[in-house]
Symmetry: C2
Subunit: 443 residues, 2 copies
């Protein structure tokens, strides 16, 4: 089965010139160039596939993942064997491990994507000009997306599904530690795509662990429209420094909760606890708590108790330590640090302005929250905190594509260009202007 308007396109390609300094072995470069050309051709094909057909392919991919369970586990075992040989940490080995239950979860994830609304083709706005030109702003795919990620093989499936849904060709560059797992998962997609007459280059993977390939890819801005790095800060910084292609990213989440004077302290306590200990290892967990000095006496002792119960260490300024004797004295470096652990920096501030200033200096533009009963304080906080998500009387942990109702999350961006904050399928699209006339010319 093939879906297109019935006119096949012979996509030839622009001459490709190499102008970067990265010395890639010649045969490898030829291979990568061919892969990029194929992805480019697949991108045009994808735009012709009707929405329903894409969902059908996705559902079939979900079934095929389940059918391939044994093969996936076999390939995953190769990665696990190597991981043990390389002495990877138990946490990393756990992230790498695929079980029948996890494979089922991946397949169900693809079904969820199949059920989402299609982002592409939507008319964002449309207007008529005095000269009767009709102008429409229409959502289009980005084109070719490069995903660079680490360890978890489920990212492979998730990204393949989201890119297919949004009619983007995707090039996957997973970590070497998950090479065999990623390869078998991509093969599943290729098989299903081929079955439906779609060029398999719509979902492809870099078939080598050669590191220079990444540097080379990051210079191919005439072939790749967007890079999404998913992984640790070191990986992301490297990608940003090397890339000539736009990058959507967030380095880290230094999330603050500020307890205002006169705040509902019970709610404040719930929010602070939730933001810190419900899942301390994620980017939207709180790292620093700021407390107005007039709220300190009423709030901090109870907080100290609750956090101690939860096994959470407190590093506070002198004021904090007065109210929480068990707290350690904070060092300067504790503010603005991403603990990703059951450790919380606490500071007593003199005013809302001091809190805002602290966030400006130490925040990372991810998510910050205020707990307050004062409408004016809430308004100032909402306006002036320059973060991708600003919470009023709610936990920072809500900064998440699923919690916002997007049905999917490609990542979180702390950039201000293109998508910002939790990024759903919309983040994988652009738009174009379609101008319709009846012979108009410019005067």
């Amino acid at each position: 089965m093939i879906w297109y308007y019935g006119h096949e396109s012979k996509v030839r390609q622009k001459g490709f010139t190499m102008n970067s300094q990265e010395k890639l072995p010649r045969t490898l470069q030829i291979q990568i160039d061919r892969q990029l050309k194929n992805a480019d051709a697949a991108k045009y094909f994808l735009q012709r596939i009707p929405a329903k057909a894409k969902d059908k392919i996705l559902k079939e991919a979900a079934r095929e993942i389940e059918r391939s369970e044994k093969k996936i586990i076999r390939e995953n075992a190769k990665d696990l064997k190597q991981a043990r040989r390389d002495g990877l940490s138990p946490a990393m080995i756990d992230r790498l491990t695929l079980t029948p239950a996890r494979i089922k979860t991946m397949a169900d994830g693809v079904r969820v994507v199949a059920g989402l609304e299609h982002p592409v083709g939507r008319v964002l706005s449309s207007w008529k000009r005095p000269n009767q030109l009709k102008i429409s702003k229409v959502v289009v795919p980005l084109g070719v997306i490069l995903i660079i990620y680490e360890s978890r093989p489920n990212v492979t499936v998730e990204c393949a599904a989201l890119c297919l849904k949004s009619a983007n060709a995707v090039i996957l560059r997973g970590g070497r530690e998950a090479f065999y797992s990623n390869r078998v998962l991509v093969a599943v997609f290729e098989k299903v795509l081929t079955r439906y007459g779609v060029p398999k280059a719509a979902v492809s993977m870099i078939q080598t662990t050669e590191r220079r390939v990444v540097d080379y890819l990051l210079k191919q801005d005439h072939r790749i429209n967007l890079v999404i790095p998913r992984g640790g800060e070191t990986l992301i910084r490297k990608v940003v420094e090397q890339s000539r292609i736009p990058v959507i990213k967030h380095y880290k989440g230094i999330c603050h909760v500020y307890i205002d004077k006169g705040a509902d302290l019970k709610k404040g306590l719930q929010i602070a606890l939730n933001a810190k200990v419900q899942r301390p290892g994620v980017c939207n967990a709180m790292e620093t708590l700021l407390v107005h000095r007039k709220a300190a006496a009423g709030f901090l002792p109870a907080l100290g108790e609750k956090l101690a119960e939860a096994g959470c260490e407190i590093r506070g300024d002198a004021q904090t330590c007065r109210f929480i004797p068990k707290a350690r004295k904070a060092r300067a470096g504790d503010y603005g640090y991403e603990f990703l652990d059951k450790i919380l920096a606490v500071k007593v501030v003199n005013s809302l302005d001091d809190a805002l200033e602290h966030i400006r200096i130490h925040g990372s533009g991810h998510t910050d929250a205020i707990v307050t009963r004062d409408a004016k304080a809430a308004r100032i906080f909402k306006n002036e905190v320059d973060s991708s998500s600003v919470m009023v009387n709610a936990s920072t942990r809500f900064a998440d594509g699923f919690e916002y109702g997007f049905g999917a999350e490609i990542g979180i961006s702390t950039d201000k260009i293109h998508a910002r904050g939790p990024m759903g399928l919309e983040g994988l699209t652009s738009y174009k202007y379609v101008v319709e006339g009846n012979g108009q010319v410019r005067k």
Copy 2:
């Protein structure tokens, strides 16, 4: 007069570390760093200024430009003197020259910006989640914008006004040939800003022509949110290669018009003429005309005549030369070349698909048009041409912020990230999520 909520902020700054290889003289680096810090502080201030106050400042700036006419002309004369000494072309000297009439036009341009709708603060969408969290997507400024441009001093005024309107701090880096003109224009803005109690760093200029400063600036991605290069392709490519900050740009406009079989040839002729000769030196002018072979005999002879009358040279393939004997034979390099002149490449194609393929190979993603009476052909063209503007039965020359009704144009983007196509004030904004609750925590 000072507008803010009545609580002053003592904006301190993050420690600044230099980690680029560009050796900037130490005193100069300190000076640039201070300027960046001040722009950063000004950015927060700008967000507090009410919309009406910004318009008042803009109108005052317009008046001040007019009042400063003599001083502006005096400073401009210094640039002109140097330009003549350096042997700049008459065209470049003309672009550089400020006359009382041109100064009045600049001032009126600022008044137009004052009258535009404010992009910032608008709620793009707002929804409630099952847990009663209210989520709003709110337009915010980008922060600090760096503009790198060449020769025309009116860009200084235009960019200052647009950034002020959208509550962004702007750092201007004009060409050395317009140094004195730019400096006096920025001084006018600084004077007005100071008069209204706004930090003058909201509009600042790099006060040196030292070239290494640009390389240094392009690495300051923690201070600058967006770079807009305005100038020739060489300048833009250099900026993209150096920049760690997102860049909005277009390299060039290789715009195509395709005359479909069965098209209204009279309209086709009007559109082709308008697209080519009305203003050949701009990026939305047509560079290549594609004609369906069934339309060639009816269309090309008349086109040949009209273009000859307009003094436009034709470079055609063999088919074209059959119908237009005066046409020169096109060489391969003529297709996909940006003439920016009264020269047109023409090619006869066998089908719509061939036209699409030609555009894919030679286009630059700027603007392409089809002239057709066939609704299906129009639909395919609209869907498959991957350009920022796609025209049906209209001249490519309409691809323009003013023609689209944006009231302003910051530039045209052929990127797919962030703004695409003609970019109005909206392109200078981002958004944030504001989440309002009453104590919600994540389960």
